[in-house]
Amino acid sequence: MNVPGELQADLYKGFWVYMEQEEGRLLPVGLELLGKGRELADEMGEVLTAVILGQDIAALGEEALRYGADEVLLADHPLLTGFNTDAYTKVMADIIEARKPNVLLMGATFNGRDLAGRLAVRLSTGLTAHVTRLEVDKESSLLLSAVPGFGGSILAVIKTEFGRPQMSTVSPGIFKPLEPDDVRRGKVERVDVRLRQSDIRCRVLEREVVPAEDIGSAERIIVAGMGTGGDMKLVDDLAAALHASTGVTRPLVDIGVAPREKQVGSTGVSLRSKLVVVLGASGASHFVAGLRDADTVIALNKDKEAPIFDESDVCVVGDIFEILPRLLEELEGKVMVV
């Protein structure tokens, strides 16, 4: 392994955003990271580069430029059509070793986390996960990545001193993309891809892509906590009445009540909703981090001391199993027509 002291940090230049594509479309999280990357790259005096792996992806390069990139690196190859852990890791590691970027941001998606975890070890560098805040340290110009800590609203601000690129993964929904600029131009460069079938030890036999519901962008959402006892019937009924999406806290995912993509919080999805109704969640710091950007939060909990009430606009103390059925009756007839 590299001994940290050997690194010549000043050789590493450039602010990179890895843009994940799925079936020829850029995922929103990459565009969000370009938006934040634009601001940080300017502050650091770095060129902002979008990196895209796939096949026949020239149009995606143009799109990345419109969303703020100065330049784009395209790795276009038949073996990169869809995500493959061996192929993507090798190609990304090759490009990084050749061009030595200072920073690399990636979306904290399933594929992004798989790839980032391998790259950090292969390249001997630091990687922070599920970052909720990014800034530049005035003194050292290092990237500062804030990760929510335990017990209250404390953030651990993490930096990578000896190791390049400085890597972070960021969940979808944390940052906002720029408005696309249709006249923005920049260099799109195709990189040499050296990849053989024998580099691939894990083969994709079958792939079923179902567009995931993005609860982060739901206008209205009902979020269930352990206080619901995992009873999603009442939750779904209220969601139907309010034409809302549904989400859950982490413990409900852990007991198998809902899939991971429904998990709200710093290690799941951050909500940008107009209305969030929280049912029976106590208000753990990891969870409430996912409510920061919501306009109105209404919480129901039987414990009037529950920390969730500190994070809510409307606080209802009571038994959700009593209140909800009555509320549904009350809402009947008031339900909006779509």
Binding site: G117, L127, H130, I154, C202, E208, D254, V277, R326
Partner: protein, 254 residues
């Protein structure tokens, strides 16, 4: 093993998480990983070895897992392992795995429920030069390959990886069996659990623990609080229901 999140505090002096006083529980997806391993053993034979990095008190959790049916356990325990980020953690675990004579499959939980980085399984694949499948919810062995269903939210893919391989398993992917308490008792204090220190793994102090970590805590800051109205609805059930319906009304017209 992970601490119960509500029982972890932050040490303002060292800027590290103080897990010492927190009650630990077995990391939920690790139970699914063990169940996966035990079912593969039932189908194909072989042995299931547990490997964990942590303080000596983790032994009792390993004994519980031995009660579930694992054959033996290795606890990687050394004061110099403390403060490790995922880089030296995956290195230390990889050295432990390499010290086992043979290993066809390394099965892990998808992520820890405390830090949730999911970085250790990909890191292990790198250190061990093995193939990798992350976020699997079905795992089967066919000849020299492992075939797995990898979950991607609502999407999925079927992968075939050459062995040896590292496979991470998602939480809730199976029903972990209960420990056999006679077997737990037999495991207690027995030589089924071996403890290996840094020296046993040939690891130098600068490569492990806090010193071997590339990420450094720069500072701890208070998150900017979000200003909320904190308006409590008053009265009995009926009044609350009415007031709540009224609070929801503006959103019905959206």
């Amino acid at each position: 093993m992970v601490p119960k999140p509500e029982e972890v505090t932050l040490d303002p002096e060292t800027k590290t998480l103080d897990r010492a006083n927190a009650e630990n529980v077995l990391n939920p997806p690790d139970k699914n990983a063990l169940e996966t391993a035990l079912r593969l053993k039932e189908a194909h034979g072989g042995t299931v070895t547990l490997i964990s990095m942590g303080p000596p008190l983790f032994r009792k959790y390993l004994e519980l897992c031995l009660g579930m049916g694992a054959d033996r356990a290795i606890l990687l325990s050394d004061r110099t392992f403390a403060g490790a980020d995922t880089y030296p953690t995956s290195l230390t675990l990889a050295k432990g795995i390499q010290k086992l004579k043979t290993c066809d499959l390394v099965i892990c939980g998808e992520e820890s429920s405390d830090a949730s980085t999911a970085q250790v399984p990909p890191g292990l694949a790198e250190w061990l030069d093995m193939s990798l499948v992350t976020f699997a919810d079905e795992v089967a062995v066919h000849g020299n390959t492992v075939r797995a269903r990898r979950t991607l939210g609502s999407s999925y893919e079927i992968l075939e990886a050459d062995m040896p391989a590292v496979v991470s398993v998602v939480v809730g992917s199976n029903e972990p069996r209960f420990p056999d308490f006679d077997r737990v008792e037999e495991a207690a204090g027995s030589d089924w659990v071996q403890v290996w220190a840094a020296a046993d793994l040939g690891l130098k102090e600068e490569d492990i623990g806090l010193k071997g970590s590339y990420t450094i805590v720069h500072e701890l800051v208070e998150g900017e609080p979000v200003e909320r109205k904190r308006e409590f609805l008053e009265g009995g059930m009926e009044e609350k229901v009415k007031a709540l319906a009224k609070a929801l009304e503006p959103f019905l017209e959206a």
